[in-house]
Amino acid sequence: MAAEDANAAIVPEAEVVMELATSTDPRAVARTLREQPVVQIPDMFSLVTRRHDVEDALRQSSVFSWGAVGMDLGNVRPLIPLQIDPPKHVKYRRILDPLFAPKRMAELEPDVVALVGELVGRFSSRGSCDFHEEFAVPLPCTVFLRLLGLPYSDLDLFLSLKDDIIRPAGDLDEQARRRRKAGDTVYEYFGKVLEQRRVHPTDDLLARIIASELDGEQLTDEEVMDISYLFLIAGLDTVTDSLDCFFALLAQEPEHRRLVVDDEAVIPSAVEELLRWESPVPAVPRRTVQDTEIGGCPIPAGEQVMILLGSANTDHDAHPGLDRLDLTRSPNPHLAFGGGVHRCLGSHLARLELRVALREFHRLIPDYALAPGTELQYTPGLRSLHTLPLVFEPVA
């Protein structure tokens, strides 16, 4: 039936979606997929591949629903605001967006600068590090704990919870069991925190969320928990992924790194370009709630759809030149943070962390390379690395 299915290509393997994250060259995988606007993987999902169609699907949030996806993240209620559809979604974003607006995030900069210095200081005299373990993981997680006013001693607990939810070990049954158990722990943890906050009010992001009103009423404890739960899984992993991707690339391509080291003014555009090029979140899921079409291909109601952000970001038929990495690129209207009403809530925090990391790390360690014999292994789903061993001249 493929020939009659206006434009829709049928691919029998789901592996191709994994490769969008795991390949050392995901751009090449995406290029092949873009030969068709919609690629069907039978009994699994349809992939939206081209820039224009990706924008189209992201904008139609009531047809391509997040709420209907039904993704198991160990939660028993929808995560707020991600798994809530409009119109209620808009109300939550009105509360949350101001708390994550760029001006608010800029206040955190001195703290992030100090933290980067502290992390680099732990390995700079050694001449080597596991960038993933010693920098990319602790940086965003520590920022997150401070932002929410939670103790640093809970770092390891948070890391194991988010790993058990995002990439649990074991077969499918074991994975579901780990997710569920981690989910229970998250609810229990934030339940206790909320109890404490009622007795001892604080002044931090969590306090501002607790104090928020929706339609003239305070948020319920469940709502605050469902927001915190989402922060835990959305806020920790994706900045780690981005740092891994960026520094692995810069370690291997000194001419690009040289640009960042020689002229710090290039860093804002470098961050945008590295986000576009690497697209650490290669795809976002949706489910159609009515019959629709994308790029002339019919998509029935109830279909699971993967919107390929990374593919849209490198679609050089839409914008010539997107098949090259250019850290000074302008304009660069990429979709690495998604688009439409679900645009990444934490994007301005992520940008701040990534800019500060690029600037401060390179001031301290301008030259580095992959440790000899390193073979990079990118993770499926969200594109990060299991380990990123770097070597450099020890800093006294």
Binding site: E55, R93, D97, F100, A101, P268, P333, F337, R343
Partner: protein, 63 residues
């Protein structure tokens, strides 16, 4: 040069006011506010940067 904002399409990516603070600002939500719809010649390049970097195509030139 005139700049037009489709406020419905803006999702608060914040690219415009980060790149061209002389032409664009943000409201409490982090969504775009056009400071001067009619852009003075010295800010035309900045305005163009803001318009062309919007991932939602929420900004355009009116003439």
């Amino acid at each position: 040069m005139r700049v037009r904002l489709d406020a419905e399409a803006c999702q608060g990516h914040g690219r415009c006011y980060m790149l061209a603070p002389a032409v664009f600002d943000s409201d409490d939500l982090g969504h775009c506010v056009v400071l001067t719809e009619s852009v003075a010649p010295e800010y035309e390049d900045a305005a163009r940067q803001g318009v062309e970097n919007c991932p939602e195509r929420a900004l355009s030139f009116a003439d």
